[in-house]
Amino acid sequence: MAGKTDFGPPFYKDLLPPVILKNYGQWKYHERVKPGVLKHVAESGDELYTIRVGSGRLVSTDWIRDVCGIADQFCGGHLRFTSRHNLEFLVSDKNQVEPLIAHLNKEGYAVGGTGHAISNPVHTQGWIHCHTPATDASGIVKAVMDDLYEYFADSKLPAYCRISLACCLNMCGAVHCSDIAILGIHRKPPHVNHDTVRAKCEIPNVIAACPTGAIRPDPKEKSLTVNEDKCMYCGNCYTMCPGMPLADPIGDGVSIWVGGKISSARTPPKFSRLVIPFLPNNPPRWPEVTSAVRNIVEIWATHAHKHERMGEWIDRIGWERFFDLTGIPFTVQLIDDFTLASETFRSTPTFKW
């Protein structure tokens, strides 16, 4: 084989349903018909119904064939996935909408995730495939979404609530701007295996990889030492060097972050902020995590104004009030001490008791 390369992905136009090809760029407005169902209307008057279905993201080829079967049956063999890994059936024939939904319900698919719902948590590999995780990804997501399912299936929250999960500080899930982020963290410094470091690691790169400068050369061992006082277990050295593992059944667990957002609607994008520095890994259902998340969702849902995202609500009431209402204890880890720390300190005597 000559090795065909650089031909690129399939051309999208070849994959669009006819109604989209016809009305491409000519959409006029949309309506949220009901949870899980969007209706887009084109200038031409054509309508496109989207039925959104939750997906575990980690799916078998069998599952793909299953949903292809459904798409063939109800929507001319067309479907798409969303940026949050949901599946969308694209229906141009209004009459197929209800039968499709009935079929999906019957088969146990999760219809929902539109509007003011909790949509599919963006997440990552965890123990399924990665070498740096501090927790699993799919397992927690499953547990959390089982628990919060009502908020996926219905659209009854004050605003969007985006939950994301990343299994280590690399944050592949880009959790750092989520309404609620679940982030795997280590809490023990790496163990340096000098033999491995010596044989396998580009020492200067490892040193440069440490955000806090905790790593120094160890000339005696021709290896490295870690100043454990300066190490905050980011795992970046391990990414660069197999000789510095830091995963640990007791050290590892999960942290919870809240108040981030991406859209610029009303307020600019925001980072999520740490509110629970550690919860233990308690597979298979991580009960501490699910109940912490539910607590936050419900306190927010109870207190926020309409259209007020988590972070917007907190900005209005203040973080001191957030801790009050949620009953989450305030610990020293929540106080920043990295590069931009001073920006997060309070430079005014105005706050709430």
Binding site: M1, T5, D6, P9, P10, F11, Y12, L16, I20, Y24, W27, Y29, H30, T50, S55, R57, L58, S60, T61, D62, W63, I64, R65, C68, H78, L79, F81, T82, S83, W127, I128, H129, C130, H131, D136, V141, K142, M145, D146, Y149, L169, N170, H176, C177, P211, C234, P242, P245, D252, I262, S263, S264, R266, T267, P269, F271, N281, P284, K306, H307
Partner: protein
Amino acid sequence: MAKDSKTPLLDQLEEGPWPSFVTEIKRAAEKKDSAKDLLHQLERSYMDRIGHWKHGGIVGVKGYGGGVIGRYSDLPEEFPAVAEFHTLRVNMPSGWFYTTEKLRELCDVWDKHGSGLTNMHGATGDIILLGAPTNALQPCFDDLAEIGFDLGGSGSDMRTPSCCVGPGRCEYACIDTLDLLHSVTMEFQDELHRPMFPYKSKIKISGCPNDCVASVARSDFSVIGTWRDSIRVDSGEVTNYANEGMDIQAEVVDLCPTGCMKWDAGAKKLSIDDGECNRCMHCINLMPKALRPGKEKGATILVGGKAPIVRGALLSWVIVPFMKMEPPYTEFKELVRKIWEWWDENGKMRERLGELINRLGMRAFLKAVDLPPVPQMIRAPRANPYYFWDPEEVK
């Protein structure tokens, strides 16, 4: 040898309303030993509370430097079918649109070479084909090529760019996200497949400031559609929303961040001082039938977004407030090349674009890529007096 022992912990994740990945692994495990071993190794992780994969791995296909993530079990004796369990990142089509025909072809290839497990999709947007041994990689890629699926990025290259559904289905789209994405992906095939940069580089494209691909948070180049003229208002439809019970004052006007809207509740008349509007989308989001983005459309270009490694997470920063976005998108592509050139020349190993800009200063960056400073780039001017002068200016 795959095992048949029980998986009591994982089994508990087959219950509940949310779709179960465990069920999916089990389905694949019926056909594939690797999926079976994956299940059991995962059960072991659930018991041990620790992952069971070794560090790193460099494997790939001929002619490419990226696109495959190498992975080896640290319990190869117990789980030999996942001793080698590499994933292929397959470049998805614009907007994740598929025909069932195309998807089935993909499944066939993957059933032939790999575990039968996938991620639809990865966090970057690729189709992730989850787990194949080293010797299956090249044949698998060859078969993928046959059905028109190329690999995506990994390593220090341009990563697979992605975009929102845009004009495919969304009335807010101010740019043709799907087309721009395809054009950019094709333009930069070399950069996508052959790592040459100091670190990874990501491009994401959203059709409007709602930013449905989260470009601002997770791409080095964020392209976000916007408009320069006025919001198009259909007064009749505004009235309809009011009549249908929307509290336009409270839900729309009071939440407008610039305070540029007025609602005359008596006359049911909405007015917008468009000069003061910052195009946040809130009012349009609430009343899509009544309000629409303007007609003079283009994109705002932001750069530097990324996750925390090494120096902390960054959101992308505005560097071009407005750029027309029409095929063949030459201005945009040239800007990207210019920026890569500067980054490649100056970046340290594993230094993302945003970090380099932070290290050398926005001033140096703007000068190098020849962009004029404008107040739209900043939230606020500097508060410290530590600034520089070109000796030429001090005469």
